[in-house]
Structures are given as C-alpha cells and as structure tokens.
Symmetry: C2
Subunit: 215 residues, 2 copies
DNA sequence: CGCGTAATTATGCAAGTGTATAATTTCCCC
DNA sequence: GGGGAAATTATACACTTGCATAATTACGCG
C-alpha cells in the first residue's frame, strides 16, 4: 500500500506558531475575540484544532500572543518610514504624520482588530500593560519629534507644554486614523494626510505643508 | 395555601423593553456582543430568558435596538449642554467641546460599547447606516457651530475649508474621547477639556480659552 | 533502514449557546 | 370575584464551544 500522499507536514515551531497567530488575527478582525473559535482558527490555518493546544496552552494564551503580534506590527509600520534619522526634525515629523494616516496603518481591518481586543485589554492585566506601553511609546516618540522640530525652528518649549502638544497631536492623528478606518468611503484619497498635517501644523505652529511639498 | 408572594410582576411593554436593552448594554460593555448571552441578559434584568423572545424576535434584533439606544443617548448627552441657543456662537462651540470631553460622554464603558459594536457595525447594513448617520450628524453640527463662530468673528470661511476644519476638530475630540476613555488614569482632571479647547482654537483660529474663563 | 520522539490528527465530553414550544401566572374588565 | 388574554416562566433540543486524551503519522538520527 503506497500512500503517495502525506497526511500532513511537519513545520518548524516558530512558523506554525506565526501561522496560527495570523489566522487568529484574521478571525478576530472578522468576528471578534469570541467569534474567533478554536475550530475556525484551525481551519483557517489548515490544521486540526488539536494542534492549537500543542502550541498554546489555552485560547487565552493564543489571543494574548496575537494581540502583541498586532501591536508590534502596528508600531513597526508607523515608525519605519520616519526611522531614517536623516533630514531635519520637521521632515521626520511630517513623515510620521504621513505614515500614520496612510495604509497599511489606516485600514478597516486594523481598526476592527483594535476594537475587538479592547474588551480584553480592559480586563486582562497583561494585555492592559501592552496597551499602555504601546500608547506611551507612540506619544513619547511624537513628543520627541515635536520637541526637536520646535527647537530647530528656534522656539523650544517647556516640558509641560510639550506634553500637551503631544497629547493633542496624537489625538488628531488617532481620531483621523479611527474615522478613516471606520468609514473608508467618507474621505477622498490623501484627504486624511492633508488634514492631519494641517492640524498638527496649526497646533504646534510649525509649517509642515512646506515640508510636504519639498519632498 | 396562600402564596403571599407573587412569582413575577407584569410590566408595561415599553418599560420592560428598555430594561432589557439596558441590561444588554451593560453586558455588551463588559463582555462584547457574543459575551452578552441571552441568559446573562435575562438574569441581569431579573427575568427568565424566554421573555426576551417575547419582546424581540431574535437576539440580533435586541442587539440592534440596544445599539440604537446607545447612539441616541450619546448624541443627546453631547448636544444637550450646547442645545440652549442662547449665548454667542463661540460660547456654544466651547460648550460643545466641554461636553464632548467630560463624563458621561468620556467614560470607559462608553468606549467599550463603541468598540464592542464595531464588528457588527461593519457587517450589518442597518447598524452601518445608524453609525454613518450618527457620525454625519456630529460632524455637521460641529461644522455649523464653527461656521457661525467664524462668521461672528468677522472671518467667514468657504465650504471646502469649513469641511476640513470640521473633520479636523472632530478628529481631535474623537481622539481625546478615545484616549480619555481607554486610559482613564493617563490624564489629570480637566486636562482633556483644556487640551481639546486649545486644539480646536489652534485649528480654527478662534479664541475658546477666553470663553471658558468668562463662564 | 528502522526506531523513537515529537508533531499532528482523531475522538470524546461537559458546559454553554440561541431558539422553539408548552405550561403557568398575573391582572384587567365585566 | 371569576374569565380570559397576554405576560412570564419552564422545559427541551440541536448545535457550538473550549479542552482533554488517545491514536496516528512524519521524519531526524543512529
């Protein structure tokens, strides 16, 4: 009896773990955390459900791993374009605003994921910690960018004012991110970035428009 | 056998419906839409599960009713303080910003509800329509307030610019609302409103601070 | 080549899910 | 106060859920 066809293939542990996490993220975005059932995840990853238990001791653990994977991916996508330390501080700030308000950061799926995880984030301490850390990381980096750009323009600001500016700019970006992702058809192409740059410029008193054109 | 104790009490249809909706909102905020099970809702409303089917032909219908109840309550809470048509346009705009960034509008439960419903909103056409209508209502009212305040200040703006200003101001408010509700401990009391007023002022070029002090 | 270990599948289970239907109980009206 | 219709409870059912445990299968290593 030659069974030419293998019934399954062994994969490296890390690859399989990541495949399971990606399948989980897809389903969480589509149906929420409770809607992402173990069986559905297994099917999406072309695997039987028992295998999940082999890599994650519980669904809870898989969900937490998926959340951290998503948050890491989001920060990477946001900061990659502004990571090149070249250019003026103003240019880097502009690049940051641009990246935050264009795909793949602005994306219905990304917003859906964020929303689906929120409940768990508010309850599970570990997920809560990840959330707060990510938020602080975003805002701090934005604050550093703003501080550098203001200093560059010859108008350095005290810490208290910098904090308020960073919170405000972060809020505009978050709000536009949210609305752009939740109502993708409500805005023209490039409209979000333009409004974002304009708003950050108005709040900080910096001229981001000029930078955008130069590019 | 005198059973002095009634086994249940008949309630007016509307009162019972509302009680069921309120119980549903509590549980949706706590555990998400799928976590708000029919049995849990019934228990929270001090009722047996069969009664839900008597008032709502399915769980889906109850969820939709609860969503619309929540959205209506949110808009009412936001616009009530600015509803009094007295005072200058600038005062009304300031009142709107204040109301949007203080409890009960800013509230972890409110954000949790918004997030829990998002998945369904993206899929169910009826809920999607409600969502878009509410968003448009908010932004339009904000745009009217801004237009009036600008005109009052002797600096009327064309429609295209008004649209962009409204989107931007709405985004700051939404972003602050989100962050204030998702991380209640990250901001001092009154900090959100202050940053909100300051940002709207910077974006529109109007002086909302003065108005806030006068009050 | 075969052997053993770990990856993977197969099967089962108890609890929870929405919904349907029948059995009670309340309370208005004459 | 006693019918009777409507509100409410009680019970049942088919299906899904996460998890556990046993049975297979792949494949590196001697």
């Amino acid at each position: 009896m030659n069974d030419e066809r293998r019934k399954f293939k062994r994969e490296p542990a890390e690859a399989r773990k990541e495949a399971l996490i990606l399948a989980t993220l897809e389903l969480v975005a589509e149906n929420g955390v409770r809607g992402a059932t173990v069986r559905a995840i297994a099917e999406r990853a072309d695997v039987t459900q028992g295998l999940i238990r082999h890599y994650f001791s519980s669904k809870e653990e898989l969900i937490i791993a998926a959340y951290e994977h998503h948050m890491t991916a989001m920060t990477d996508e946001t900061f990659a374009p502004a990571a090149g330390a070249d250019g003026t501080a103003l240019q880097r700030l502009t690049a940051f605003v641009n990246a935050s308000l264009t795909p793949p950061v602005v994306d219905p799926r990304s917003i859906a994921l964020w929303a689906s995880f929120l409940n768990k984030v508010q309850q599970d301490p570990q997920m809560k910690a990840t959330h707060e850390r990510t938020y602080a990381y975003f805002r701090d980096r934005l604050e550093v960018l703003i501080a550098a750009a203001l200093k560059e323009a010859g108008r350095p600001a005290p810490a208290a004012r910098l904090r308020r500016l960073a919170i405000a700019c972060n809020a505009v970006i978050d709000g536009l991110w949210l609305e752009g992702g939740a109502l993708p058809d409500a805005f023209g192409p490039g409209e979000l970035v333009e409004i974002g740059r304009h708003s950050v410029a108005a709040i900080t008193g910096l001229n981001l428009e000029q930078e955008a054109e130069k590019k």
